[in-house]
Symmetry: D2
Subunit: 361 residues, 4 copies
């Protein structure tokens, strides 16, 4: 199923090397001004070829909105949109027609569908995430009005880690460098590592951190649709994602409950939806019992190194024979910088969907 | 929404201190022999009071199957079931009526629903997971027939970590000790740590690892419903879960793509659903492009320390006043041992659901 | 799938001759007083054995609420409930073990599931509708507060038809007779017909009409989930239902558009959600473009004669042999009177679900 | 929600007077040859301007397939498609900007969304059904391979009724006349009536009948998703539909159960999925207990007269004032002929979805 969400929904289609990619955004509230510049800017942040760190592939990635907007505002009807492919070099992939690239979806798709779409990975290509960025940008148009901000950044590349938490940095600086790390010095080291890896024809993974601020209390459902379960599912559906954690996550396992519990601070008067108490800490990551508590929601997403290498690899062809593979074309040595807006987009859709489910919009 | 799954579905109800918990299993294939002993055994593994490590609360947790079974076999109709609460000490919770316990769902539920169900956490209690274990056990009845096994174990408690991977241990030994760690020596150290923490009235978290073996190729969907995104959502919906990773996950970030890619081994003849090639490694964790590749699927789930402490804590009451909280009743110092069957149950439901979606059952 | 609804949902389980029937109501708003007397009264209206017109089977049909209610009010958590079977005469069905009853679900269930649950139809029995009446009664608890009423009545039995529309009768009189027709004289003729048919060991069908009053403007979705499509699906899912129509439906096909269009009446001031104009007529049946317009929503549901006859019928057994079937046990000659509360219940769940989807509750 | 279906799904977007309409078909099996000529032919049957009976509006309605197809075959990935609007006369609608047309969706959309999309009805226009026809045509590509045929025809226009049942006519003749009635003489009378009504600037409704042949046993679910409930919902979601009935429906209410029951015919050997017994009659309409029994599935759909009249009507404007409305532009006097392929398309999608749910495809 290529649909994401419950009552705010994105349905996507499209492949890496066909006509293009696109989708349908369903459940967009009516009367929202459609800031096309903002939407395009989000796409530009995901676009290949934006810096020496990313692939030299240039894709313009212009979004065309086909429906659901009249006189510059949403109508409440489904928003169809298209982003055409261009600058395709399908011939770059001709040598892959009968191969299965290691750690790609080539083999599993072939097994599931009996089809080998060798043209840049077809549907399994990260080009599909273009549609997610568009869907997320529409969601953000609504969230912005409600004072909710979502900011992701590259927190780790290989073994270069940004120390501390999001609170230690000015996240407005994230886009001030190509690697999208809010600390210039760490960004430089990450950048150096990526260039080094790229020079070897190899690839490297890392971690993106994200924080959602201004989120109202009460999002998420108690049982199977805990807010963090929805966020986790959303993030893990991004290409190359291998892990998700929020709050303390996998870290600090030596800390006791008495050290991790977030203590409430007494406040002046009856507690109600309009008078939330404050907390001394936020180890919970803004979610308790699956429901947002008004604190910052923060989480981390692990990404593996891109599977496409610009060096020779052993693999097998469709006949089971050993073959040597050497990718042609233009590929990222590290997806992290371009995945930052994708993480934000997925988070935005989860939050808006849950605001709608909670009857807040 | 209290329903899990797409076409194999579990819907649950019930609270910690009401009549009991239960649910409806929908989409169970017809004609499956219902091994009640097996189902009860899974429940017993989750049950409180099974060892000195867990709460001294004794709950019998007998499952009553109300429908969907005739002459010992499933009929293809929904399986309603009940597990009655007993041995309730609601008075243990009377002192909580107007309090919000730190890092519990008390405050967020109150904000979302305007209700303070102080009796043992009400719906937010991990008692709800009884129903998940029953649902998972029914799923396992089908998976067993297909040669699919699912085995979870406690891999970390606090800073005591079981080294290596699942392949280094005999997972048949997992239940040979109270902590459900397949290595006796590590289990002993985990057990000692839990007893120490318990003695302090404190709690401790950890990590459960799980491996799915014998899983067919082709489970999962390309885009939003990647198999690991579904597994991640399932695991993160378990009480106290803070993180999920599969394959290499958050670890080994210094490894390059050339070190992480799983190289295919040439085989004898055309590759097809019946002739899958083998791999030199399994860094992918059995899932490529969101679809199972026939290799072992392995993942890890992080759990925080239980929020209920048997020591005094500061908190606030409904009027915003500072109060001292000291839990009464019987509580776990570490949920890991009892969460092992829950992790297995959730995994089983995900796998069966996806086999049905893929038309394999 | 045994779940009905989008975000107000009912999941049901249970068979005619097992432990009982029950379900889970999910999405019930918190803080609603649970009027158990009202809920039980709705069940009593559906109950067999309430008059000489219906089966002489006596079922007490006491509903037990298992969860989701505290101190007499809903908590916003799922409401599990049970209605035990009693007074079962399974031996009445022993002669059916190897037979397929004509125009029952016996053969199709056998083909789909490979199971022959001969005990009173098993899951296909109309006993399953007990759970719908409970679900509907909970929905009505909310709708009553909003001033929305739902009233169904028997409008036709065989060729005895209640002339005119719902507006011509006092629907408070519906339950003043056994057949649930608001006109005493027509009710008498319907009743006579049913008794006559019953005397012959035969059965008869008819039509139930229903009107929803006080429904807010704006329920329903433009495209596939038009309000009447949802109502139609709900009604057609009731056992023995063969047709659904709303507004002018199949009737008056000789009328032109100029005769059917509902003309708006000018009003004093800007039109807005708070100032709906009135209409000269309501041929639309309260729904335009799939969305409620605030007028009365009225529709009709056709029911076929019950398939179980108390006379001898030809049929075949599992071996393909010709056999004679004569039903034993106690059966209705006409389901209409007992189906009235089921129609109301399904309508109530559709309306509440759509109010939630529209963010009105 | 603008998505139809469970695991074979169509999501649509687009308005009458914007860029165009389109959609995403999800769950299309891989490896199906895409017969573009067939798909286009279905669209041509729905297209305006095909005969003097329909609007003189000419729309080319060329479908562009954007994804999910490679080398002429489906890949199992979502099929995005577009049908551009052309020949738009938006100025035809300028006089409607502040009006609410009687018995249109104008007022209800305005109330629900706060938006008045006056351009030809916007999303509520039947132009949206273009996407349904495309989705249905893709479904038919699969059903054809399985020997399943779906044939609808105009059975009634105003008071001109085609006597008898589908079995009395050669449905291959349906498209031999403009009105799509398989009997030439009745077609002529229907056609005359439509032309007469059109001459008056008025409109007329009618009934479309449909028969599904070759459908396997076992489609549909027992409870809420009975096959006919799904078909009913699908049909009632078509613009202007007012009623749905299958089998005996609303008719022949004077017949007793003994006259309506479909008697099974003894057969030679054990009954199994491969050896279905035959029936003496098919009053059930091919569905028993909500599940297909292998007999022909037949149903009828009632359509009201088109609301747009080419004569003067009274209505109100946005300020509540009385105004006179006279539609400009080109409009159908009777939608039945063009609705025939829409009914077929919706039926095809329901059948394929249920075959997938039943694991048959």
């Amino acid at each position: 199923m290529n649909t994401f969400g419950n009552i705010f929904r994105l349905t996507t289609f499209g492949e890496s090397h066909g006509f293009g990619v696109g989708g349908v955004i369903d459940g967009m509230p009516a009367g929202v001004a459609v800031d096309m510049e903002f939407i395009q800017k989000q796409l530009d942040r995901r676009r290949p070829g934006q810096s020496r760190l990313t692939t030299s592939r240039r894709e313009d990635d212009r979004v065309e909105v086909l429906s659901g907007v009249m006189d510059g505002c949403t109508t409440g009807q489904p928003v169809g949109f298209l982003v055409r492919n261009n600058n395709q070099h399908s011939q770059d992939y001709d040598n892959l027609r009968d191969l299965f690239r290691p750690s790609h979806a080539d083999l599993t798709y072939y097994m599931k569908y009996g089809i080998r779409d060798h043209r840049g990975g077809g549907r399994s290509s990260a080009r599909e995430t273009v549609s997610r960025v568009v869907g997320g940008a529409f969601a953000m148009l609504v969230l912005r009005q409600k004072g909710i901000s979502i900011r992701a950044y590259t927190q780790q590349v290989g073994d270069v880690v940004l120390a501390g938490t999001y609170a230690d940095y000015d996240l407005e600086q994230t886009d001030s460098n190509d690697v999208r790390c809010p600390d210039a010095e760490t960004a430089r080291r990450m950048s150096d590592l990526i260039m080094e890896v790229k020079g070897e024809g190899d690839t490297i993974g890392g971690v993106i951190a994200c924080v959602i601020q201004g989120c109202p209390v009460g999002l998420g459902e108690p049982c199977f649709r805990k807010l963090h379960a929805q966020l986790g599912s959303a993030m893990l559906s991004i290409n190359a994602a291998k892990g998700f954690e929020y709050g303390q996550g996998f870290g600090n396992m030596n800390l006791r409950g008495s050290q991790q519990n977030d203590i409430l601070i007494p406040c002046d008067g009856e507690i109600s939806r309009n008078r939330m108490p404050e907390f001394k800490t936020n180890n919970s990551g803004g979610i308790q019992g699956g429901i947002s508590n008004g604190q910052d929601i923060y989480f981390r997403v692990a990404f593996k190194p891109v599977a496409t290498l610009l060096m020779e690899q052993d693999t097998v062809d469709i006949h089971g024979n050993a073959v040597k593979l050497r990718a042609r074309g233009r590929h990222d040595a590290c997806v992290l910088p371009r995945a930052v807006p994708i993480v934000e987009a997925m988070a935005a859709m989860v939050i808006l969907d849950n605001m709608k489910l909670a009857g807040m919009i």
